[in-house]
């Protein structure tokens, strides 16, 4: 069989896949966006090295380089501005405490990315979103069984999706669904990585992602009708 059209990319280099779409959005200053983030003597590595030595100005530079990416990740994962701000603050505080432990085994952005995801997951667990709720969400209900996907073929998305509609639909997903959808389809993590991060099974991760996509499909198919009523 050939390769699927579904995404399989890994966030294993300094935002390279995203930077290819829009370097400005990758969180790096425009002046350095064209430089490979891991190139020797890059401004990013220089700032990192100085920050690890306790240089506060260098830490401020790192904040400046990564703040948009980290804040946006938090915002996508929790869907709430105030919480995203708090989590961004907590993530950078943790970074400040732990930056000295970064040994360069992976790209710094990947390491930071995982740190942030752990901060968000801790927050969600404190709020009561646990893998238990993810498991519960897997149980088929009358509303959400596979049969829910049946429908007339004329209501397909016809290969086009309104970007704003998709953003709204993702924001409206239940927290558990949104979490896995963001991690897999937007951030590019594999199911085994998500299962490890969320302490759930790989099958659970696949099922949750599938249900998230089904919910998005329902929302997106309803979108033109909602718009027409406005």
């Amino acid at each position: 069989m050939a390769q699927s059209r579904f995404p399989r990319q890994l966030p294993d280099s300094d935002y390279a896949p995203r930077a290819a779409i829009d370097p400005e959005r990758a969180g790096a200053p425009t002046a350095t966006a064209s430089l490979p983030a891991t190139s020797p003597n890059s401004p990013q590595l220089d700032a990192l090295s100085r920050a690890q030595g306790g240089d506060h100005q260098a830490f401020a530079e790192i904040y400046s380089q990564h703040k948009r990416r980290i804040y946006s990740l938090c915002l996508r994962m929790v869907g709430n501005i105030a919480e995203a701000e708090d989590l961004t603050q907590e993530a950078f505080l943790q970074l400040h405490r732990k930056i000295g432990t970064f040994r360069g085994d992976s790209a710094f952005s990947t390491w930071l990315h995982r740190l942030v995801i752990n901060v968000v997951l801790m927050h969600l667990r404190k709020k009561g979103l646990s893998v238990i709720s993810l498991d519960e969400a897997m149980e088929p209900t009358q509303d959400e069984g596979p049969g829910r996907s049946f429908g007339s073929a004329d209501l397909t998305l016809a290969g086009t999706i309104d970007r704003l509609a998709l953003e709204h639909a993702i924001g409206d997903l239940p927290a558990g669904y949104r979490l896995i959808f963001v991690l897999h389809d937007i951030e590019g993590y594999e199911h085994n990585e998500i299962a490890s991060m969320l302490d759930c099974s790989i099958g659970n991760s696949k099922s949750q992602l599938h249900k998230a996509r089904l919910k998005l499909r329902d929302a997106l198919r309803a979108f033109p009708r909602q718009e027409a009523r406005r």
């Binding site: 050939a2 059209r5 946006s72």
Partner: protein, 83 residues
């Protein structure tokens, strides 16, 4: 429910979809899809959503005062650790 040559109903096929999609293989030539317009449309939609999400990368600017809050918290931590 739609029966097909493979004797899979749509419900049976869709119950396998998470694993089929998660396998990373192209399932466009799955026997059920050859005879089922609805499931073919469903798969096309899910692929469209996944592809659109990959391109979706809204990056937001945090408020300016956030850095001030972080700096204050760092200073508090430092002073706390000295005591």
């Amino acid at each position: 429910m739609t029966e097909n040559q493979n004797n899979l109903t749509c419900a049976q096929f869709q119950s396998q979809l998470p694993d089929l999609i998660g396998s990373g293989l192209d399932i466009a030539d799955h026997p059920h899809l050859e005879s089922c317009d609805l499931c073919r449309a469903l798969l096309a939609d899910l692929e469209t959503i996944a592809e659109a999400a990959r391109q979706l990368f809204p990056v937001m600017e945090p408020p300016d005062e956030l850095w001030e809050h972080i700096e204050s918290a760092i200073k508090e931590e430092k002073s706390g650790s000295r005591e």
